[in-house]
Symmetry: C2
């Protein structure tokens, strides 16, 4: 399996390294920034390129991992390649790929990637979609190189998944940040909260989140909520977030 | 070590069972609801009571795990006991205990407890506070029966910790719920998000949350955020939460 990566960001880096580890050949890494292309190319023994004229047209698979609004432009350069073309975006429809390669589709890993931390992809859900059955089988084979959790998901469903992931991952991480800031302002270590954060995340393995909701809002403990709002008197934005999320919890239908 | 538990909710249940497992004797469980007292008493081979006249005055330690606004009333019945008296509340000052027992203080486990899931307490931070050094040593010994992570924390600091825990745990769990609801509305399984949720929580072992923030808000990807807000057209409350948390991420000072 010969793969060309278009892009060299977090997703491209994690996927390219994982493909390489599974025995695939990464033959080229394209990036508009030649230094980024060189770094990822060096990690995967690929050829770094930053001009479209240098693109190898004969790879089995072209993986587009660039910013969402740059995908359409990339696709323009992949009309005549001999392999299949996939993008890895959660929020972008399959339709942007129309006409690319000899078949096209989506390979969306539902995970958060930071360059500083390795991720075991084996259990990461890969959401795939294709222009036709033949391509779907090829993309499925590509996805199964990396993960056992491959699921066919339509563009409309993928948009919802991506949005749900913003709530469950991006917003959650931001709440971790807000709490760590609160602690730092009062000379308390964030370490104190880490077991609680891990336990909260692990609970959902066994129970629906709504069944294990705790805290003053679900108990409608107004005295405690009033104290908390007063404690946040110097942070109007935190106060607003506190009130809005507490109200949302109170309004939850069991 | 002889312990009397006042209360039979989630915290009382987890602590009483853990103390029992570490060799302490739970001699009585008081609850205003006699059936709840009986259940926890049966689990810990204690005597269930629901009248103050039946209280054994000779225990080494009285653990108050009742709703915050019921603590003061309980304390009125523990003025003359021969042991120390502690409460387990994050949001309640030590002062509510004034005069109780032969010494008083706080034993606050910084963790989320649901009756349906066992929790390993060994790494759970226990925040302790006492009326004087002698009592602090006793409470520290009691806490060390259960955990290696015992920290002295003042009432003012504990209030902040409790508030930070609401952000990091209660609100986070609610975001899990909101995302699971979104998925269910589009015939998608919450299982798809679980690896992402666990990875997000585990990242903070190695990096400050702010360093690993991902998603459209931190990239200021307005096109994607606009699409997300449109997708939430039928859920004004989710829209509001989306916009507020996205703005808070954008306003984060690195």
């Amino acid at each position: 399996m010969n793969i060309v990566f278009i892009g060299s960001g977090n997703v491209a880096t994690h996927l390219a390294i994982a493909f390489k580890a599974m025995g695939a050949d990464i033959i080229q890494v394209w990036s508009k920034d030649s230094r980024n292309a060189e770094i990822l190319a060096a990690l995967t023994k690929a050829e770094p390129i930053n001009k479209w004229e240098a693109l190898d047209q004969t790879a089995d698979c072209y993986v587009i991992s660039v910013k969402d609004d740059a995908i359409a432009d990339v696709v323009g350069h992949l009309q005549d390649v001999r392999g299949i073309v996939v993008h890895t975006s959660g929020a972008t429809s399959i339709d942007v790929l129309k006409g690319a390669g000899t078949g096209y589709g989506v390979l969306y890993p539902l995970q958060t990637f930071s360059k500083t931390k390795a991720v075991d992809l084996k259990n990461v859900p890969f959401c795939i979609e294709a222009d036709r059955t033949e391509t779907l089988e090829k993309i499925s084979a590509v996805a199964h190189l990396l993960s056992a959790a491959v699921a066919e998901v339509s563009s409309d469903q993928r948009k919802v998944l991506h949005l749900a992931a913003v709530f469950a991952c991006n917003f959650t991480n931001h709440l971790y940040h807000l709490s760590s800031k609160l602690l730092a302002e009062h000379n308390l270590k964030f370490d104190l909260l880490k077991p609680l954060i891990e336990e909260t995340a692990q609970k959902i393995r066994y129970a629906a989140p709504i069944e294990v909701q705790t805290g003053p809002a679900i108990r409608d403990d107004r005295e405690t909520m009033k104290k908390h709002v007063n404690l946040l008197a110097d942070s109007p934005q935190l106060q607003e977030i506190y009130v809005m999320l507490s109200n949302s919890i109170k309004n939850t239908e069991l």
